[in-house]
């Protein structure tokens, strides 16, 4: 693949050996390559965290912003230049913790971006505190008596928000993940892909083994367009964890609205002076 992968980055990667993030990186590259995207037309947007380092590890444009704040710049980037393919690579803390409010409203806006959440159920970069998806009872230095808050269920949440594309994957299955990312990119509107990603350094509960025993692919009979059924499916988490496209729906995208209004500004362009002058008469 290396030769035909224009997204390959030559520098050093600072993730821990064995980290699921490497697999997600491969999946992203694969998805983009299979769609024949050029690095110069892709923007990877991220916040802060291990997941959020991904834009530095691919040859593509990148906006590596603030912890929890990947979605707002992604909106700004994409709405202004709708020819770009915009992916957000974020963590469970970044996206569901610090950034939760933006997720709610980004889905409502339905701009055409694909959000890839490296869900390792822990804060990796800051060395092992609980994240919004950590299991109840998990002991960490900041939860010495165990996590007490109910884990956030991103799939149920996204279905309640009527997100156009909602999927879950497991990082170890690179091809499967790549295919979901590809579908997410192809979806018009907001796509959320939550990826189970082992953190070998800090999450001693949700390990490769733990996920491998539980993750199963939805079969072909599963209908992701039935919202209530999808919601029911989203509640499945325990001995069995479904992966695949869990929910799909369609509605007008933000991009389409701008197109309809004819709003498409160009870089380095001047405002029309005669129009500007005509404003004077209103005062």
């Amino acid at each position: 693949m290396e030769n035909t992968n224009p997204f390959h980055y030559e520098g050093e990667l600072s993730w821990c050996p064995g980290c699921g993030d490497f697999q997600i990186l491969k999946s992203v590259e694969k998805a983009l390559t299979s769609l024949n995207k050029k690095p110069s037309e892709v923007v990877l947007v991220s916040g802060i965290g291990q997941a959020a380092k991904l834009p530095h590890y691919m040859k593509a444009n990148g906006f590596n912003g603030l912890h929890g704040r990947a979605l707002p710049p992604a909106f700004g980037i994409k709405s202004f230049n709708r020819d770009l393919t915009v992916l957000v690579t974020t963590g469970d803390g970044d996206c569901y913790g610090e950034g939760g409010n933006h997720l709610i409203h980004a889905i409502r806006r339905n701009i055409d971006i694909t959000v890839i959440v490296h869900n390792n159920q822990v804060y990796g970069l800051t060395k092992g505190q609980a994240s919004p998806t950590s299991e109840v009872g998990m002991v960490t230095k900041t939860q010495p008596f165990g996590v007490v808050s109910l884990p956030f269920n991103p799939i149920a949440f996204a279905i309640a928000m009527d997100t156009p594309f909602v999927a879950r994957s497991y990082s170890k299955d690179i091809d499967f993940t790549a295919d979901l990312i590809k579908q997410g990119i192809e979806t018009k509107g907001f796509a959320l892909i939550d990826i189970l990603q082992p953190c070998v350094s800090f999450n001693k509960i949700n390990t490769y083994q733990w996920y491998s025993q539980r993750a199963y692919k939805l079969d072909n009979n599963y209908d992701p367009t039935n919202r209530v059924k999808a919601f029911e499916k989203s509640l499945e988490w325990g001995d069995k964890i479904p992966i695949g496209v869990i929910y799909r729906s369609q509605r007008q995208t933000y991009d389409e609205t701008l197109d309809r209004l004819g709003i498409k500004p160009q870089v380095n362009s001047q405002p029309d002076l005669s129009k500007v002058k005509s404003l004077l008469s209103e005062f």
Partner: protein, 573 residues
């Protein structure tokens, strides 16, 4: 100045103070008269006590007066609150059927506005009735008013126009029929005066459009919302993406994303929202992302006085955002200056790739003033970015000026990264101490160029503005002003000049980079330096001291949420 009339229109929120004022102001402007109008309103939608202060003259007016010649009282409370502000010979217009007046004297002019409105067709016309009566009192020709009414209600259809014309006439005639003997002064129309009437919010919004704004994301917050809605109203016409964000954090980060894509981007907010943007502003600092931030100040801390005025965020804005990075901070003094400053802010933010702040306040945002038509050829939206890049393009290339060439995605086959960490020239995360030093120094090297740009202070010495080439102050007493206090301090100087006092104003529009050289030159000869500010700490005085070592001799401060008046200042010197 052959006449100088003050009118107060007072009543409850929802009673239509603004509708009355709108007709009045527009008609006066069409007559070539100068007006200045400030709104004092409470943080509620109905009830309470609001008022509008209007000053009218044949020369430019720059501030409000405490007393008024005419009071239009829409409820009993307004009579009680304001009757003492109307001197003998003044007029108090009220509706005798709805407003109780204890012992009315000969200032009181009862106009049964509600009844007249009902006669003409509907109680909601009572505002137009009032306007008609006021115009008659001011002896303004009815014709212009009719023209305005036709334009104003054009969208609402013939019937509405007809009724309003009738109401206008009814109010006008009722006054003439009953109070013909009343007359204040000879108001002479100046028909060949080509004036515009604009408030501070519109001036900034208009400047943003002229400055090439292409993206605005904001969250509503008084008193900043006016700028946001002005621009948003023109979004389609001017190809601007406008989005109401879920919160101010999103607003600034959206703007930074758009800026990355190549947009001229901005956001508008006020105190609490500004605080929420602090982290994003720091991001703009390290990413070197151009962005224009309008902060419309109101009294704090926290929610404070939500619909009132203050200048309390000055030192904060100079330091907002963790870590260190250069920025522009502007505080225009009047709508015309705000218009040009906003255009400059876009150009300079673009040129130096730093955030540019525009500090206004509630008083400034909501105050209407007449001005000569702005000269649109004076400033253009000019981008300083190159348009072609090689494939080894480096987003953060180290340069002598500190400014790196800025590219946008898809301007070529290259890719680049904008990064919130300390980074290499390529935008990749680095922890290397030497690279770090170079990047910090590169960012701060910009200050040298920034210092030379637009934004010298204005030295006002009597009737004329002294051009920036005027190198030394002449007055014994110098008043310092920044932002919205331009007008009131200017009028204070005018007043004192007439008393043969040696006074001047030094007004600062650009506060950062601080115009040190100019400040020192202008203040060198002064015996007494007095800072005039709407805050408790005399913040500008502190900055002056830190920047130049010059200490102010006096502070005239006001922090009750209301704007200064000349009278207030005079009492304190």
């Amino acid at each position: 100045m052959s006449f100088d009339i003050s009118i107060k229109i007072a009543g409850q929120a929802g009673q239509g103070i603004q509708s009355i004022a709108e007709i009045l102001l527009k008609v006066l402007k069409l007559n070539g008269l100068h007006v200045f109008a400030y709104q004092d309103y409470m943080s509620r939608v109905r009830g309470g006590h609001n008022f509008m202060q209007v000053r009218i003259s044949d020369s430019p007016v720059y501030s409000i007066k405490e007393d008024c010649n005419i009071l239009v009282a829409l409820d009993t409370n307004s009579v009680d609150v304001h009757r003492n502000e109307v001197p003998k010979g003044g007029a108090i217009i009220y509706d005798p059927h709805s407003t109780m007046v204890d012992s009315p004297d000969n200032r009181f002019i009862p106009i049964p506005m509600n009844n007249l409105a009902k006669e003409v067709g509907s109680p909601i016309l009572s505002n137009t009735i009032s306007a008609g009566s006021i115009l008659a009192l001011l002896d303004i020709n009815k014709m212009d008013a009719e023209e305005f009414v036709k334009k104003q209600f054009a969208k609402k259809g013939e019937e509405v126009i007809e009724k309003n014309l009738k109401a206008l006439e009814r109010g006008y005639l009722y006054f003439l029929e009953n109070f013909r003997s009343w007359k204040f002064t000879d108001i002479k129309a100046q028909k060949n005066n080509k004036l515009i009437m604009i408030n501070g919010s519109e001036a900034v919004g208009f400047g943003a459009i002229a400055g090439g704004c292409q993206f605005i994301a904001a969250y509503p917050m008084s008193p900043s919302t006016g700028v946001f809605t002005y621009i948003t109203g023109k979004a389609k016409e001017f190809n601007i993406i406008s989005e109401q964000a879920e919160d101010e954090i999103a607003a600034i980060n959206m703007a930074l994303g758009a800026s990355f894509s190549g947009a001229r981007a901005m956001t508008t907010t006020s105190g609490g929202g500004l605080s929420l943007m602090a982290e994003g502003l720091s991001l703009a600092g390290v990413m070197e992302a151009p962005v224009v931030v309008v902060n419309a100040q109101r009294p704090g801390p926290a929610t404070g006085l939500a619909t009132r005025t203050g200048q309390e965020d000055l030192e904060y804005v100079l330091h907002i955002g963790h870590g260190e990075f250069p920025r522009f901070v502007f505080a225009p003094g009047h709508p015309e200056e705000a218009f040009y400053t906003t255009i400059h802010a876009f150009n300079l933010s673009d040129k130096y790739q730093v955030p540019a702040f525009i500090l206004i306040d509630q008083y400034f945002a909501d105050t209407y003033a007449t001005a000569k038509e702005f000269d649109l050829n004076k400033v253009k939206a000019i981008s300083s970015q190159p348009s072609a890049f090689s494939n080894d393009y480096k987003r953060y290339q180290i340069t002598k000026s500190g400014v790196s060439p800025r590219a946008y995605p898809m301007q070529g086959d290259f890719t680049f990264i904008a990064d919130s960490h300390e980074h290499t020239e390529n935008g990749h995360i680095t922890e290397d101490g030497e690279v770090r030093n170079k990047m910090v120094e590169k960012r701060f090297r910009k200050l040298k160029g920034m210092q030379k740009e637009f934004g010298k202070p204005t030295y006002y010495y009597g009737d004329k503005l002294v051009p920036s080439s005027f190198k030394k102050g002449k007055a014994k007493t110098v008043f310092l002003a920044w932002g919205s206090n331009y007008g009131v301090v200017r009028e204070t100087v005018d007043y004192l000049k007439k008393q043969k006092r040696s006074v001047a104003m030094l007004h600062f529009n650009r506060i950062y980079p601080f115009p040190r050289k100019e400040a020192i030159a202008f203040l060198k000869g002064a015996k007494e330096i007095i800072t005039v500010e709407n805050n408790y700490q005399g913040q500008f005085g502190n900055i002056l001291k830190a920047e130049t070592g010059i200490e102010v001799d006096g502070k005239i401060l006001k922090y009750d949420g209301r704007p200064f008046t000349v009278e207030y200042i005079l009492k304190r010197i």
